[in-house]
């Protein structure tokens, strides 16, 4: 039996095409995925992301525990509400999941993990808690709605005028908490906006008010092309337990600075000499790149990890793991069915804030 979010009925009523996503019945689109993509880049859209799991980490050792648990360093979070993106690694450096951690006090944090890995993550987090004075509290009863796009914040304030004072000064990657809501200036689209965590019982009413304020419902299909254009990794596709962050474009999320901090996976990463790097591809020939296609380069073969048509660019793009030595600007070939198509190696960030970042 598939899981449903508190907004399932609203999606069906809005004409959504429902698909299975990590065991959840989720809207893939409400009509045209491309139109939904443009809606977010140009105006404002909202996503039901209630399938993602909130986990509260609390207790005297909360900070020490998280400094051991994840590869980024929560000690750099000092401003209440500040958020940090990180990988949670195995001892061998493989990525268990990528997640966001919100800081409230050194004894209280909120962690948000992916839906498909939530049960595995919780089991791992609880196993690692041994010896620390912390509780790892699952919060499956919370709903999450992401409002994204250049007009998203204004429209959110139109729908909830009271929230303006709480959120108008939030910087990117910062959140405010009040009355059981957590509103963070974060997202997965490369656009400005908020991610709102709220009690499930309020979800429908909030969704309807946001819709009335002109924020259009957007399915998971457009969410994927938006994050791909923004060059954001998707767990299970761009990295997983068989890949390490240093070869997945996530070196910036691994914090080695405090030599005394023994985070899980550190030894393996320090011993690793990366042979592959994570870059973007812009297809020059006609066609569409997809995940798991062979990339032929002068330095050896690589593989695409995500690929699609990019509506903002009106071209096809991909993220790819290619041998070290391949450089930005190189022309490579991607095997698509029985053909080899030419692609240009680019920085893995294709479009953000409504605009293409690719220089022709």
């Amino acid at each position: 039996m598939a899981n449903r979010t508190p907004l399932y009925e609203a999606h069906v009523a809005a004409g959504a095409k429902i698909v299975d996503f990590a065991g959840w019945e989720m809207p893939i689109n409400y009509g045209s995925q491309i139109e939904e993509h443009h809606q977010v880049r140009r105006d404002a859209g909202m996503f039901d992301v209630s399938h993602m799991r909130a986990v509260d980490v609390a207790g005297k050792d909360a900070q020490a525990y998280l400094r051991r648990l994840v590869a980024n360093d929560v000690a750099k979070l000092t401003l209440p509400g500040k958020a940090l993106y990180s990988c949670m690694l195995k001892e061998d450096g493989g990525v268990i999941d990528d997640l966001i951690i919100y800081f409230f006090t050194p004894e209280r944090y909120r962690v948000v993990v992916n839906a498909g890995t939530a049960d595995k993550d919780l089991a791992w987090m609880r196993a690692q808690a041994a010896g620390f004075a912390v509780t790892v509290g699952d919060r499956p009863e919370l709903a999450m709605i992401a409002v994204q796009g250049p007009q998203a914040r204004e429209r959110f304030w139109t729908a909830f005028p009271v929230a303006r004072a709480q959120t108008v000064l939030l910087q990117p990657f910062q959140a405010a908490e009040w009355d059981g809501w957590l509103v963070a200036r974060t997202g997965y689209t490369g656009e400005d906006g908020f991610e709102i965590t709220l009690p499930a019982a309020d979800a429908i009413e909030v969704w309807d008010k946001l819709k009335a304020a002109g924020i259009a419902p957007i399915g998971l299909g457009a969410r994927d092309t938006l994050r791909l254009e923004a060059g954001m990794n998707l767990y299970g596709q761009d990295m997983d337990e068989s890949q390490n962050p240093l070869e997945s474009g996530l070196t910036w999320t691994v914090d080695f600075k405090d030599a005394g901090r023994d985070f899980i996976g550190r030894k393996a990463l320090e011993a690793l000499k990366p042979t592959r790097q994570f870059l973007g591809l812009l297809l020059l020939d006609r066609g569409v790149l997809r995940a798991h296609q062979k990339v032929v380069t002068a330095k050896g073969d690589g593989e695409t990890t995500s690929g699609s048509f990019a509506p903002t660019l009106d071209k096809s793009i991909a993220l790819a793991r290619v041998p070290v030595g391949v450089a930005i600007g190189d022309i490579v070939e991607v095997e698509v069915r029985d053909k080899r198509l030419k692609a240009k190696v680019v920085k893995p960030s294709f479009a953000r804030n409504g605009k293409s970042l690719i220089q022709e």
Partner: protein
């Protein structure tokens, strides 16, 4: 959308239409375009290529996925629809008005072996 009665269909969701000049135009059904979502790329067979019935001969790619197209009947490709290649979204907008390629059939009677509209709708409704 109801499937037009003047077309023939395959269980792999192609339609075939016998034109007045004896050629056969081929496209994908409305059910197929609906399932694929926004179509962004078409790879169509070159004119002159000889196709067997059921042969993989074209690819329709949506944002979501790539889907193979099979020749409903045997014949020689006379023309690929360049207008559709230039505007793949026209398949979403009008699946039955947008042919993909045109065949000179090896045997026009082969069309009789394909599904009629009622039989196709039964196939489509069963997924």
């Amino acid at each position: 959308m109801t499937s037009p009665a003047n077309l023939k269909y395959t269980s792999s969701h192609e339609w075939a239409k016998l034109e007045a000049d004896g050629t056969v135009t081929i496209g994908i059904t409305d059910h197929a375009q609906e399932a694929l979502g926004d179509i962004v790329f078409l790879e169509l067979p070159d004119a002159g290529r000889t196709l067997k019935a059921g042969e993989e001969c074209a690819v329709v790619e949506s944002v979501k996925a790539a889907s193979d197209i099979y020749a409903p009947i045997a014949g020689e490709v006379i023309e690929a629809n360049q207008a559709a290649v230039d505007a793949p979204e026209s398949v979403n907008q009008d699946a039955y008005g947008t042919w993909l390629f045109k065949l000179k059939p090896a045997n026009a009677a082969d069309l009789d072996k394909l599904l009629d509209a009622a039989a196709y709708e039964k196939v489509a409704s069963e997924g």
